[in-house]
Amino acid sequence: MRRAGAGVLALASLAVLPAGAGVRAAAPAPALEVVATSTDLKALVEAVGGDRVRVDSLAAPLHDPHAIEVKPAQLARLKTAALLVRVGLDHEPWLRRALLTLGASAPGGARDLDLSRSVALLQTETPRLRADVAAHVHGFGNPHYWLDPENARPMTAAIAAALAGLAPAERAHFEARRDRFLERLDAGLARWHGALARHRGARLVTMHDAWTYFAARFGLLIAATVEPTPGVPPSPAALGGLVERMRATHVRVLVAEPYADPSLVRSVAARSGARAVTLVPSVGGAPEAGDYLALFDVNVARLAAALDAAP
């Protein structure tokens, strides 16, 4: 079903292609096979590549990206892929083993695109410095950088360059599609900034530290994280202190992911008086978040509604 949806999207994006962009030979070259590690990267590659690429995402939108079991068919696709696009840092620890398994035929060099090299990272303190603050999973900087829409500029630039390197004849096509995408992104940014402008400086508490980039972009402040280590529930003292501070400083919104522990979310919200709102961390995580721009439309609308409604 998701594949069919992606097809519809690809068709739709074809329809809005400007007439002058399609400077190409009469017989279209076969589509480039691209493997992305997440649905967000898949959406961005599709935005740039259009019908010239066929993209497969290794992770489903709501799976824990740290614990993926690669399936045989995916391994086969990885082996023949023209390009591998990944989040990088330590976001995909399973990928290294999968690539080792493939040996010499694994995508490497120009076929391996690590997008973390194209953006400015946050929270890059070394593990040693952070070690005595709290245990955490992000040793090389926070990897959720796709949640800042401005980062889509350098990311799509890197994707366009990599695709053009593999299919030099299509360079103009990719550039034109990227420009179209950036126009829509600019329109989106104006819309999102507008919707959240009234709430600049608002404090949020999040369940996991996935929203650092998103908050920084829209001028929101993350006061604390409920579950510093995913899957390890907070201790009673930590929870008690957190709830107390939330009440004392009138934090009005608690941001949860769809897979956050519902009883923990309910309990923190009830005790602190904050309103819980579920934001989608990845494209496809909610039915209406079908592509990269829709992801932000959904999240901004939900967050703005929660901040508006909170007392």
Partner: protein, 423 residues
């Protein structure tokens, strides 16, 4: 502390009430892992419900989990009476492994499934609501009454080892396993697999070790469950630890202490009967262990020697004696600077937190300076720790001859002397 932990403690008491009793049955029947197997089958039912489109906390999801667990329980009832040529533990293990594998297969198709399964294993005893506890208490009271009414045949089959088979036993077994499945499914949703297993087995095991008779065992099981729950919750609060895992660990400590107490009593009795010679095997084992520890230090001084670290923490002289005067001075200075640095770090971090929460305001430039200071101070602290480690490894190089070799020789000699006396 009280307002946060009152509901979890009530939930723990409810769990103790039913599980300590069922645990006696499970221990007597020798089907210890039936609980884990049924919990896994219930988890499979939950994932199937997710796949069918039901939200994880809904009644439908609970219904799926319950139906799967009861089916699993009935399977166990049937396989016991048929007296297959393989032991029942084998069937329980197979059910566990296959349903765990099926869960993985189903999770792969269900969005968020993996997270749910993880949450199911860890549980969330800390965040129970009053409604949860009340529902569970009512349900378990009903199960308890049913078991009280049917206590005659149920206890006879579990304790008496009624192996005759037949329809009558099958019916009672079906009732037992169905109620067991109901309890496990409901408890696991609230407290997680590990905690439920601990409540089922540990109080009953301690009771069986210490007293005789169903009534006395049940009373002791309830007492142990209540005391350990309170201790675990308090430890979780005092030492800032995840609650469910702490209570499970507390149960482990309780069982170990009970076993140690029994061992001590047995050795006192043995010494009274046979004199000090009765302790010889234990003394030999101890001497052997000491010899191995010394040998490890002598051969591989760079490895982690946890016993020596612990000793040095209590008595720093053990390390300082092996340092030159100048090294000793460096060590003292570093320790002082470390303590100062850590105090400063704590203070600055608290300030940073206040800024994050907005209880104190700081302009952007000073916030950045605060961040830089924290990074720098953190590096210095890490450097201090490195100095201490280097000094320790210098000391280890000398300790290997002065502590490691003598310990190895003394331990081996002691063990030999003890062994020779035996003949």
């Amino acid at each position: 502390m009280i307002d946060l932990l009152a509901l979890p403690f009530l939930a723990c008491l409810v769990l103790t009430g039913i599980h300590a009793y069922l645990g006696l049955h499970v221990l007597a029947r020798g089907v210890i892992f039936v609980d884990l197997a049924l919990a896994q089958v219930a988890a499979l039912g939950l994932t199937v419900a997710l796949l069918a489109g039901h939200p994880p906390a809904s009644g439908a999801a609970y219904g799926y989990a319950l139906a799967f667990a009861i089916a699993g329980g009935l399977l166990f009832a049937v396989t016991r009476v048929r007296r297959a040529p393989i032991p029942q533990e084998a069937i329980i293990g197979i059910v566990y492994a296959v349903s765990a594998a099926l869960t993985v297969l189903v999770v792969d198709r269900a969005p968020q499934g993996a997270e749910r399964i993880k949450q199911l294993l860890v549980g969330s005893i800390l965040t129970v609501t009053g409604g949860d506890v009340a529902t569970l208490a009512a349900l378990y009271a009903a199960v308890g009454v049913a078991h009280w009414l049917a206590r005659g045949p149920l206890l006879a089959i579990s304790l008496g080892g009624d192996q005759t088979g037949g329809r009558r036993v099958l019916v009672w077994d079906a009732l037992f396993y169905a109620s067991f499945a109901l309890v496990v499914t409901s408890s696991v949703q609230l407290a997680g697999v590990l905690l439920v297993f601990a409540y089922l087995v540990v109080p009953a095991a301690i009771a069986v070790l210490l007293v005789r008779g169903v009534g006395a065992r049940l009373a002791l099981g309830w007492l142990v469950g209540a005391v350990v729950s309170a201790a675990g919750l308090a430890a979780s609060y005092a030492w800032d630890l995840p609650t469910g895992a702490t209570v499970v660990a507390a149960f482990g400590v309780a069982l170990a202490s009970a076993a140690a107490a029994l061992g001590a009593r047995a050795s006192v009795i043995a010494v009274r009967a046979h004199g000090l010679a009765a302790l010889r095997p234990a003394a030999m084992a101890l001497a052997g262990l000491v010899s191995l520890m010394g040998l490890a230090l002598a051969l591989f001084p760079a490895l982690d020697h946890l016993w020596l670290d612990a000793l040095e923490r209590v008595a720093p002289e053990v390390q300082e004696a092996f340092l030159t005067p100048s090294e000793r001075a460096v060590r003292r200075e570093t320790l002082e600077s470390l303590a100062r640095g850590e105090a400063q770090l704590r203070e600055t971090r608290a300030l940073q937190q206040d800024v994050q929460w907005g209880t104190r305001t700081l302009d952007a430039e000073r916030q950045e300076r605060l961040r830089q200071f924290l990074a720098g101070r953190g590096e210095l602290t890490a450097g201090d720790r490195l100095v201490l480690r280097t000094l320790r490894s210098k000391a280890r190089e000398r300790q290997r001859y002065w502590i490691g070799v003598p310990l190895a020789l003394a331990g081996a000699g002691g063990a030999l002397v003890l062994a020779r006396r035996r003949r």
